[in-house]
């Protein structure tokens, strides 16, 4: 009964709010009139009776407020009321509202975009069954090691894969090169991945002789096979070998990366000792058995490691996989990008903090000018909590606007981000705005509203009524909130300094990278991969004849000034490693021969790439016919023949019969990345002419070559020329990765480029927000001190004195902020060290120029308020209020 009446009363109050307000008015009015009437009857004159009646009744507004509270609907009602009131107030000062909402939107938008990235890549569980049981092994194993592991592990199931293989698909349209992954038979079932069509591999199908199967990706199935379900069971030709299609994976299945178009079984063949124990060293992933702890798995794999080294047909170095362990699969997959993503998140959180400080500042300034309004409301009976709640509602409303707008920014920002980031970033395809991020944005918006709303709300509600009404808005609260505001601005400038500094360092580093001389001339160079089947080059003569024709015909084409072949293009992302013997440095028995990067080139390669020999000569046509010669890079020459002339020395590829004579030394080429010529585990670089003795580790001449053509043709023309040449000679040979050398170079610096541009964006955001912050505070200060300035001017202060008065305030914020920012930067900037090249994280020049620039920019922000102060007219100022 009573709860029913309560609900009815609530419902009543909410639905018929204005009616109830009217009724309340009528009722109280009736009371006062009835009392006045009684007084009149006892002889009091009408006027006096009305006055006494009002007096004795007490505060009408306070009574009404208490009545509303008593009705128990105050929360809902108040909230609706506050929202309406807040919206009205915000509409009344559109300048404040727009700046505050935009500031927040930028902060929230940037944060949501970056958070989507962090969430999609680092936080979200992998899209496989029970992903928490999946782990990856730290270290790689050859087929033999993996098979042993699979047999011996008790705590987990084991699978292996080998990425970055390529296969020619012929017979279905133009010959095409497809990226594929070799997987152990149980990999799919371990991931819990179901095929869209057909089946995945059965156990045992990764054994040599039983492995002629293939699983297709959804995209490949659609593009090449028109989505025909009859593909299952059909035999397709990959690298000239027929393989039966057994399954098609669904579109959202990606393993290990989004690139893969094919999955083939591993080819485990224990009889081929070299391939089985020394071939591909593969990553291994495992699924922990139910109830197994990570520690148990770690202990078991350590035990296994000590056994497996003894299973190799040759002694293995003791340090090989000595630190073997297992880590959660997701951590293993994203380990490379984790640091960079967290760095971006840190930077963008700084931007949000600056935005919050800015809006808090704006709100504080506004609250100070609203002191009178608040004082009146409290005189009319509004409690302190009530006023704080109202101001808070207003802030949350503002943050809500900012959040909504920020979501729009985030959507745009995220697509921009995905376009900017290097495409090889793991899981980038999985990143999108979704409900998790929506929740995050919502929480962020509300939290932000509270952060910047709470301080001013508490502050304003502390205003004492009488004082504020008396002083006309120059109350005691001003000095308190002034301190708070100053602190906020200083912190804001400090954060901005840190961001600008990091952007400055990254820009310097990027400048250094992109102005590195790569050692070749990238202009007017078109490159493309030409990849006949492996088997085609088993017959070395056939292979060499084909390639010789390719080069000749390409050079004969109109518009082509020169063409050459190389097995691994500089910055092309591939390495050919080969052990070599060096005369006078021959490795002792039991020791490993030096591991070199072997470049196999046609004689005119150096000329086409714009590389000139430092000493000796380049290759000539006689070398192509079969001379035993080599060219080394300058650093290789220094390493093995320091202080001597390398020309005339001798070296040979491992197991080669004859010594090769070093005929030339060329400058170092940035072949691995823009920072280094070689990875650190490579001990030298040698070039040999492309002839029948230029063999790789497997004893064959290289089959995959990259053509580099110097041409004035535009990209499309040059491309069709190259394709025509190759397909004219052999239609079964695909031409792929057609790129200009400039594109190759810019892809090589894609990662630092994206990091740098993101930081530069954040830094400019921070800079603008910081400027707005200083500007806002000074403007407020000047408006509050107009009267004081007026008096000073009236007493004879000159314009310079006023200038100093204001600028001194501005400079105080600026220098305190810069000092704090520099101190903060010194503490955290070493986190950036891994991203920097050619510049120290403590680079004095950058610190100095950023300090100077920040000082200039912040003082610039003081300009407008200072000018306003200097124009103060003493008469007007003193007449105010």
């Amino acid at each position: 009964m009573t709860s029913w009446s309560r609900i009815r009363s609530w419902a009543h109050a909410i639905i018929r709010r204005s009616a109830m307000e009217r009724e309340m008015d009528t009722e109280l009015q009736f009371h006062m009139e009835a009392y006045a009437l009684d007084l009149e009857r006892s002889g009091v004159p009408r006027e006096e009776a009305m006055r006494r009646s009002r007096l004795e009744f007490g505060g009408v507004e306070r009574t009404k407020e208490e009545c509303r509270d008593a009705r128990g609907v105050s929360f809902m009602e108040t909230f609706v009321l506050d929202l309406k009131y807040g919206a009205r107030t915000l509409r009344k000062s559109p300048g404040f509202t727009i700046i505050a909402a935009l500031t927040l939107a930028l902060g929230i938008g940037a944060n949501t975009a970056i958070f989507s990235l962090v969430d999609g890549i680092l936080l979200r569980p992998l899209p496989y069954a029970s992903p928490q049981q999946l782990v990856s092994v730290k270290g790689t194993y050859p087929k033999g090691g993996f098979v042993a592991m699979r047999e011996q592990m008790h705590t987990m199931d084991v699978a292996a894969y080998s990425e970055d293989h390529e296969f020619n698909l012929t017979g279905y349209g133009e010959a095409v090169r497809l990226p594929g992954t070799l997987v152990s038979a149980e990999l799919f079932s371990m991931l819990g991945a179901q095929p869209e069509l057909g089946r995945t591999f059965y156990p045992g199908e990764d054994v040599a002789g039983q492995d002629n199967f293939v699983v297709l990706s959804h995209a490949l199935w659609e593009q090449r096979f028109a989505g025909d379900p009859a593909i299952i069971g059909r035999v397709i030709e990959l690298e000239g070998v027929g393989r039966q299609v057994v399954g098609v994976m669904p579109a959202d299945f990606r393993f290990p990366s989004a690139r893969g178009a094919l999955w083939l079984p591993l080819h485990n063949d224990p009889r081929n000792t070299t391939a089985y124990w020394a071939g591909d060293f593969m990553p291994v992933i495992c699924r922990l058995h139910a109830g197994t702890k990570l520690e148990q798995a770690r202990a078991e794999i350590k035990m296994f490691q000590s056994r497996v080294t003894k299973m190799f047909p040759w002694p293995m170095p003791a340090k090989w996989n000595a630190d073997v362990s297992v880590v959660p699969l997701r951590d293993g997959m994203v380990a490379d990008v984790r640091g960079r993503l967290l760095m971006l998140l840190g930077a963008v959180v700084l931007v949000l903090l600056i935005a919050c400080a800015n809006v808090a500042n704006l709100t504080l300034s506004r609250a100070a000018t609203r002191e009178k309004e608040i004082a009146i409301r409290s005189a009319l009976g509004a409690g302190r909590g009530r006023i704080a709640t109202q101001l808070l509602t207003e802030s949350v409303l503002l943050a809500g606007f900012g959040g909504l707008l920020g979501l729009v920014f985030a959507k745009g920002g995220l697509s921009l981000l995905k376009a900017t980031l290097p495409t090889d970033m793991p899981r980038l395809m999985d990143v999108h705005l979704d409900w998790r991020v929506l929740v995050f944005t919502g929480a962020l918006a509300i939290l932000t509203g509270f952060i910047f709303g709470l301080v001013p709300a508490l502050q304003s509600s502390r205003v004492t009524t009488a004082e504020s009404l008396k002083s006309g808005g120059r109350g005691a609260a001003v000095s308190v909130s002034q301190r708070l505001r100053s602190t906020l601005v200083v912190v804001e400038v400090a954060f901005a300094v840190m961001l600008v500094l990091s952007a400055g360092l990254l820009i310097r580093s990027f400048w250094a990278i992109s102005h590195t001389n790569p050692g070749f001339k990238s202009e007017h160079l078109l490159t493309a991969r030409i990849t006949p089947n492996e088997s085609f080059c088993q017959d070395a003569a056939r292979c060499l004849t084909f390639y010789r024709s390719v080069v000749n015909e390409a050079q004969a084409s109109p518009g082509v000034a020169g063409a050459a072949l190389v097995n691994t293009l500089p910055l092309g992302g591939r390495i050919t490693k080969r052990n070599v013997d060096i005369e006078e440095h021959v490795a002792a028995p039991g020791e490993n021969a030096p591991l070199f990067w072997l470049d196999v080139v046609t004689p005119n390669y150096f000329r086409v790439m714009g590389i000139c020999a430092l000493a000796g000569r380049e290759f000539n046509d006689a070398d192509e016919a079969g001379s035993a010669v080599a060219v080394v890079t300058a650093s290789t020459a220094r390493r093995y023949w320091p202080g001597e002339n390398a020309v005339g020395k001798h070296m040979r590829l491992l197991k080669e019969k004859d010594w090769r004579t070093v005929v030339g030394v060329i400058p170092d080429v940035r072949a691995f990345d823009m920072q280094s010529s070689e990875p650190e585990w490579i001990e030298g670089t040698a070039y040999v002419p492309y002839n029948s003795s230029a063999t790789l580790e497997d004893g064959r001449v290289p089959a995959e070559m990259t053509i580099a053509a110097r041409t004035n043709l535009d990209a499309a023309q040059a491309e069709s020329t190259l394709r025509r040449v190759v397909s004219g000679l052999n239609p079964e040979v695909p031409v792929s990765e057609m790129k200009t050398m400039r594109e190759v170079v810019s892809e090589a610096v894609a990662t630092p480029a994206s990091t740098t541009s993101l930081f530069a964006t954040f830094a400019s955001l921070a800079l603008v927000l910081g400027m707005i912050g200083i500007y806002g505070v000074l403007t407020f200060l000047v408006s509050k001190r107009t009267r004081e300035i007026g008096i000073r001017v009236a007493l004879g202060a000159r314009r310079e004195d006023v200038l100093w008065l204001v600028m001194r305030e501005g400079a105080k914020f600026s220098f305190a902020g810069i000092a704090l920012g520099l101190a903060g930067a010194m503490a955290v900037m070493r986190l950036l060290a891994s991203e920097l090249y050619g510049v120290s994280p403590m680079d004095a020049a950058t610190y100095c120029s950023v300090t100077g620039a920040m000082a200039a920019v912040t003082l610039l922000a003081c300009y407008v308020p200072t000018r306003r102060a200097m124009r103060v007219d003493p008469l007007t100022a003193l007449r105010e209020d």
Binding site: T2, T26, E27, F30, E33, A34, G58, T63, E66, R71
Partner: protein, 114 residues
């Protein structure tokens, strides 16, 4: 001393209002008059404080209200006791009596009785 009005004891206003309307429906001003009348002007009630109490009691369901016409032919809101209100008044009265008895007993205790 006996004629000087005393302020209403904290928390007893609700009880007085329930009692007042139990004798017949009243508007707010009538409740005030009725309390003055039955207390023989010995209780002082701040006029404004009456209404929050009335709203609270109505919200709790002890009293109900409806619009009617006053003796001066004016529109006025009349309050009457509900069944729940009647029970409430009863229990409150009993509680008050017990309490008054106990307190009176304590206050009249002489030295020799301890």
């Amino acid at each position: 001393m006996a004629n000087k009005p005393v302020d209403v004891l904290q928390g007893t206003l609700d009880m007085l209002i329930l009692k007042a309307v139990s004798l017949g429906p009243l508007h707010g001003y009538g409740v005030l008059l009725r309390i003055h009348q039955i207390s023989k002007d010995r209780l002082e009630i701040q006029q404004g404080s009456l209404y929050p109490a009335l709203y609270r009691l109505e919200h709790q369901g002890w009293i109900a209200s409806e619009w009617g016409e006053s003796e001066n032919k004016r529109k006025a809101k009349y309050y009457r006791l509900t069944a729940a209100g009647k029970r409430k008044l009863q229990s409150e009265t009993e509680k008050w009596n017990r309490m008054a008895e106990v307190i009176a007993g304590i206050l009249s205790t002489g030295r020799e009785e301890v």
